[in-house]
Amino acid sequence: MVMSPQTPTKIETLGLEVFYDTQQALFGIDTVIPSNQVTALIGPSGCGKSTYLRSLNRMNDIIENTQVKGIVKIDGTDIYTNGTDLADLRRRVGMVFQKSNPFPKSIYENVVYGPKIHGVKDRQTLDELVETSLIGAGLWSEVKDRLDKSALELSGGQQQRLCIARALAVEPEILLMDEPASALDPKSTARIEDLIGELRVNYTIVIVTHNMQQAARVSDFTAFFYEGHLIEFGDTQTIFTKPLNQQTEDYITGRFG
């Protein structure tokens, strides 16, 4: 089922299963996510792709009565062992959410929130982090003169890029994106997609998307989930042109979903 990509592995899951109470959301997921590539997760609503994404930075832990079985390795180390430093894991594995969720603070304070949590106090270092993160998220030129203004005054697309900048500020290695553009207008969506293309140089990106064209446009690899199972995983071109599995083909051609 799993096609092994030719690039080095960043994330690997083995027999990953997730239960909410007694309901099983993921069934024996084996994946190999390559380093410095964009991997898109597609599939109909409720197929488990967000659950899968959230198991990569252990965000499922915050939901009561959630149980995770199997192995998730990042750089070869299982992140579900008892000794895992959650703070450090989540620093290394950043996350951008479906709805932009800047804190009700200034733009500056939003970006430095993460670094401050991780102990950065020096004002100059923080200033530099703000600049590089905002440049990285393609927002610097738009906000550099009003860093002390409330983040909530920004437009939806700007807010989402601020959330990306906030995630970049803790210098992660992986970026998880849960439908980051689904609430945005086409122009803002295009900006985010361009940004993803730029970010893949330095980060490993895993992105959940409902939008098939988006998956085709931005990703190098694609995983198709259906009812908690990983149906097919491969390079995006293959998945979209000659999928091995009938269900994948049906979904991609719009026969269901």
Partner: protein, 296 residues
């Protein structure tokens, strides 16, 4: 024809607008009327003993020698009790609210919530009983006093009464903090405690401040408990272990037996005016703070 129907619609609009405005203005009207009423009864005091008689450190309205109508001891009594009660209720109320909304599991919340609501429903007279029989003697023996009926006892009981209000309103405020803020914070590697202190509490702060202000409003206006347990000695003091007399207790105790139209009668209305001004001031401050933090 068309013109007429447009005109009729405009007229209807205007009528509805007037009715709504009237309903909305009722509360303003009532406040104004209350002020007018208080003012009317208080005015004679200005000419007879003179308004400056209020700025006196003694309240001896009934005397064979010289009556004194100084509201300063009553003012200081009310402020001292309110200040102390606020100091007690903030940590208890806010920490409980944080625990209930952010930390407690479902089963804990199901036990705690009904008891807090029960506490809010206890009649103030019963709390007064508890103060007289239990808390007062404890305070007396702990501090080695001659009487346990003092500002501290009153403040502790008033805090007890105000805490349920502070808890439930603060808890609502904290619950209304969007889940997405917490998730963003946790996803950046913040711990639960860091998320609570740096994100949840600041985001819920306007609600928490409103809760504290409402708690203070309840405390400063509360009458029965302070009448029963603060000792009712009109002394100017900042010592929590002294007996004090609040503005509310004075009005409640003396209004029933005062000679109608006397200087004493008018002086009590002045006390009422000051009480009203203080609560009004509290509300205005609360709203200012709310507005300031809502934006950020």
């Amino acid at each position: 024809m068309i013109f007429n129907s447009i005109q009729r619609k405009l007229l209807q609009d205007k009528a509805v607008r007037t009715i709504l405005l009237g309903a909305a203005s009722t509360s303003i009207l009532i406040v104004v009327l209350i002020f007018l009423f208080l003012g009317k009864e208080a005015v004679p005091f200005i000419s007879k003993p003179g308004i400056s008689a209020l700025w006196d450190s003694r309240w001896i309205p009934v005397s064979f020698q010289e009556q004194r109508y100084g509201i300063l001891p009553l003012l200081s009594g009310s402020l001292l009790v309110t200040f102390l009660a606020t100091i007690f209720m903030i940590p208890f109320g806010v920490i409980s609210a944080i625990y209930l909304s952010e930390v407690a599991v479902k089963s804990e919340r199901e036990i705690l919530k009904p008891f807090i609501e029960l506490l809010a429903g206890i009649p103030s007279v019963i709390i007064g009983f508890f103060g007289l029989v239990v808390l007062g003697p404890v305070i007396k023996s702990v501090f080695g006093l001659q009487t346990g009926l003092n500002a501290l006892t009153g403040a502790l009981l008033l805090a007890l009464m105000a805490i349920p209000t502070v808890i439930s309103i603060s808890e609502d405020a904290l619950r209304n903090v969007p889940r997405s803020y917490k998730e963003a914070s946790l996803a950046l590697g913040a711990s639960k405690i860091q998320t609570i202190w740096r994100i949840v509490v600041p985001a819920g702060l306007p609600g928490i401040i409103a809760a504290i202000m409402l708690g203070m409003g309840r405390v400063i206006g509360e009458t029965m408990v302070v009448l029963m347990v603060t000792g009712n000695a009109a002394i100017m003091t900042l010592n929590p272990l002294d007996s004090v007399r609040t503005m509310t207790a004075t009005i409640a105790a003396e209004m029933g037996e005062v000679a109608f139209g006397s200087s004493h009668y008018a002086a009590l209305f002045w006390v009422g005016i000051f009480l009203l001004l203080i609560t009004l001031g509290l509300n205005i401050i609360a709203q200012r703070v709310l507005r300031k933090y809502q934006m950020v």
